[in-house]
Subunit: 359 residues, 2 copies
Amino acid sequence: MSRNEVEMPGERKRHAPRGSNAKPLTGIREVARLAGVSVGTVSNVLNRPDKVSEATLARVEQVIERLDFVPNRGAADLRTGRSRMIGLVVPDITNPFFADVARGAVDAAGQQGYVVVLCNCDQDIDKQNGYLDVLEEQRVAGVLINPIGAIPSGLSRLRDRGSGVVLVDRSAKLSDYSSAAVDDVRGGQVAIEHLLGLGAKRIALVNGPTSLRQCSDRRRGARRALSAAGRSADDLIEVVNSTMTIHAGVSAVDQLLALDSTPDAVFCTNDLLAIGVTRALAQVGRDVPGDVAVMGYDDVDLAAEAPVPLTSIGQPKYELGHVATELLLKELPMGADAKHERVVFQPHLTVRNSTTATP
Amino acid sequence: MSRNEVEMPGERKRHAPRGSNAKPLTGIREVARLAGVSVGTVSNVLNRPDKVSEATLARVEQVIERLDFVPNRGAADLRTGRSRMIGLVVPDITNPFFADVARGAVDAAGQQGYVVVLCNCDQDIDKQNGYLDVLEEQRVAGVLINPIGAIPSGLSRLRDRGSGVVLVDRSAKLSDYSSAAVDDVRGGQVAIEHLLGLGAKRIALVNGPTSLRQCSDRRRGARRALSAAGRSADDLIEVVNSTMTIHAGVSAVDQLLALDSTPDAVFCTNDLLAIGVTRALAQVGRDVPGDVAVMGYDDVDLAAEAPVPLTSIGQPKYELGHVATELLLKELPMGADAKHERVVFQPHLTVRNSTTATP
DNA sequence: CTGAAAGCGCTAACAC
DNA sequence: GTGTTAGCGCTTTCAG
């Protein structure tokens, strides 16, 4: 590699440390020099190729190729004032729900040339707020967030600084943020409607902690369906568990069996609970769905492969992340006076053997 | 699945006007002006507070506070030439293994002030290479990657441009990249040793596609353990499946039962297969572990909660991501002449009821 | 259609 | 200690 004396026509000698070049010195400027054009032109071939003559275009592109030149996006971002990265803030990427959301978000972002930085809060509010600060320093174009508790105040600062914000799986009734969420109330309703349609008389709800919005929403939907069917919402037998595991489902059955008359249908607010319930029921000789119909929620992969394939309510997780991102990207150019919109996805029922022997 | 959009009236609240000037002009310069110091000093309070006098420090910090000033990391990165972001390239973030790796990586990165951009390839090599290009444009500090096929050539370009590269869950025997991986050969070996220790005579391996490195490695370990115990590696009965699902496990049992004499122990290369095998065995009246011991691999949450709790080989997933990141961060300052190291994690055995009735 | 020039916000020498 | 200053690599008027 020979050292070539860089001779600038424009007489810029005010720069000392460039006399003896040890650096590969690749940049738009070097491309311009080698192609015999100005940096402005190179910038044009990069961003507005249509505004450059065929000849120059070809020549510049060739040099770019030869030099292995790759534009520095960071520099461009600094100059234009807007970054091409968006932050995704989730409570736990290890939760399959959020992993799917992330996949949707990453895809949608990628399609528009954006990159997503993953912020995993581990259910910790302080960590969440810390990430918000980091994202602020990074001057992200926007943030997608499923806030852990209340809407963090950091979000408004982010927005004041020009970043977009959209809430994921969290409606924003009172706050003025766009959001994409799935309708859990509806999910609970659909579940009970299904059970009712099967002719269920005594329905039980096996729930998780009602402090979780999803749990309370699904419960609300369940009660609503009962009322809508002309029955008292209080007919719903409820068992709440502090965790939503198979084990919790198993023990829930103890409570169910202790009742005066056993329910003939049970709606579990997630699939693990349902699997536990099904198993425990089988152990005491109750047939599913013969004696009692059981359904779950989430429609995880496992649901279809359970000993008795599980009827479940699925959520469009990927779409959630995807649409949330598109929402964000869409309101970016509108700046401060963007109209915020809320899109609500509907959960959907997948019927399997656990509620109907012959699906 | 319908989707309805509701428009919310957008309310915009801008920050209070900075000073009485027209421009929102917030930046190190504005801080300097209001604090009556030079930009250099402000930069110092930001990066080297110890080099600033108590008085000035306090004054500048107060102005920073008042202005809600947050430094622009992108600008700093451009200036210093090194970015504070690292790319994480995985085949599928939806795979619990990689979700955990991601969590480890994000944590480790965050601790050092780095941010991780998530690149999800969906098992698509082109997509993977596309991300490598994007990361190159972003001039990331480094990339963590679990390459889909062969080591992508993009990695060397990345490195030439100054980014660090470390392979995740992929050893790099021939290539000169650092790596963090878990020893799957060892895992297979440990599994068989466990079964042998239980007194197993006829051992079966229920495997996934051997085109997957994990599958072939585990198989290799299994055979090795057999040899080490003075038995022929060919004593190992093998069933390979194209998928690694519960269903595949169920059908594997058909093949097992068709043998002259049924095995008394089976090692499945993942937990889903093992669950399927256990279930199918139960259906034909074989007791687990009484008649046949069954074990899985991965030690997913589900393993402990299976109908008969599953003995399984677990991998330190979080640590993998964490250490890979630390490896990367460590070799960053060393630049081109970093010595590359490979860290190998050992999988570990968790014994449950599926191999020993009384654990 | 192309070139020249002015920075984006910040850091890092060097001077005082 | 603190101020000055020259850019990092790129986009973007504004002339020609």
